[in-house]
Symmetry: C2
Subunit: 191 residues, 2 copies
């Protein structure tokens, strides 16, 4: 499935990332990872101590990618409102869900401090970025001073994460888009 | 674990509900259900065709309970804004996540039309109730006429569902509460 030029280690990490996204941690067996990576059991244990260790590498890489993608939108051009809108409406594979957020519904990820840490840090980082943009908008008079920037940042993140739930429940991305449009109509500066 | 007066069928359904909430569908084995229910395999197959059939009964009951709990708040006293606030702030076991919403992150639930149907119907019903309350608030001048009631309803639901993700990521209910307060500050009618 992967380029023969990809190292065994990378094939294992990429296979684990895909399976975590599709099946979750609880639903991903070491056997399924080996099959998808086209790698033998010995190779896996040569590079990783086992499923939690491999999952940690996979989760870290997924978190890094999500940060980079979010950063490029949040630091893009436009007013604070426009950058929040760009973040909310950035291209997403809505019906697949968020590769980071979905991990929080995995009991074995949440129960494992090591596996939960990168998820927690990524979401906390995103919230911090969004809060700063809201503050910037308040300084520029785009958003009301009475708003709490960190609370609004949590609402923005929650709308995205909950939007995936609505979309997957209905089998259509439309509900995600509705939730985002609703939030944008509440945030929109009076012109 | 259950009252001896509870029927075998009920013990199986209640055990399955708990396990679906704790472990998800993919992470719940028929063996774990039987152990928790204290029931033999023969009894299970006497009442249910197998795991999907039992899960369907469990999911339906969980959805009915969620509807009843939401309805009592949404039809409670207060202005439209106050009823939406009561819904957003109703007592929740935040760190356990939503017993209905978390099912959407279960690949085998989403892939099975029968299992997804009650989840979809419950969320659609909730959205409809919330949209009506927003419309009522618009008629009473509490919410701006320019808002789309169904979009705002999606935002309210998404904030709740995403709030669970934020809380579980950070290991604390505080992030859920922040997201909700942020949304309420955006919805609050100008006095």
């Amino acid at each position: 499935m992967y380029s023969i030029r990809m190292s065994t280690q990378d094939r294992l990490i990429e296979s684990t990332r895909e399976l975590l996204w599709e099946r979750g941690y609880v639903g991903t067996s070491p056997k399924a990872i080996l099959e998808r990576a086209g790698v033998g059991q010995g190779s896996m244990y040569h590079h990783f101590h086992g499923k939690p260790d491999l999952a940690l590498a996979a989760i870290r890489r997924t978190c890094e990618e999500l940060r980079a993608a979010a950063q490029s939108v949040l630091e893009g051009p436009g007013t604070p409102y426009e950058r929040i809108r760009a973040y909310l409406q950035r291209e997403r594979d809505v019906l697949r869900g968020c590769p980071v957020g979905r991990l929080t519904m995995d009991p074995d990820v949440v129960a494992n401090e090591d596996l939960r840490a990168p998820v927690d840090e990524t979401i906390a980082w995103l919230r911090e970025q969004l809060a700063r943009i809201v503050e910037e908008g308040q300084e520029q008079g785009q958003f009301a001073r009475s708003l709490d920037a960190r609370e609004i940042a949590a609402t923005v993140l929650a709308t995205v994460q909950g939007g995936y739930v609505l979309a997957r429940a209905s089998g259509s991305p439309a509900a995600f888009d509705s939730g985002v449009r609703g939030l944008l109509s509440l945030l929109r500066p009076a012109s």
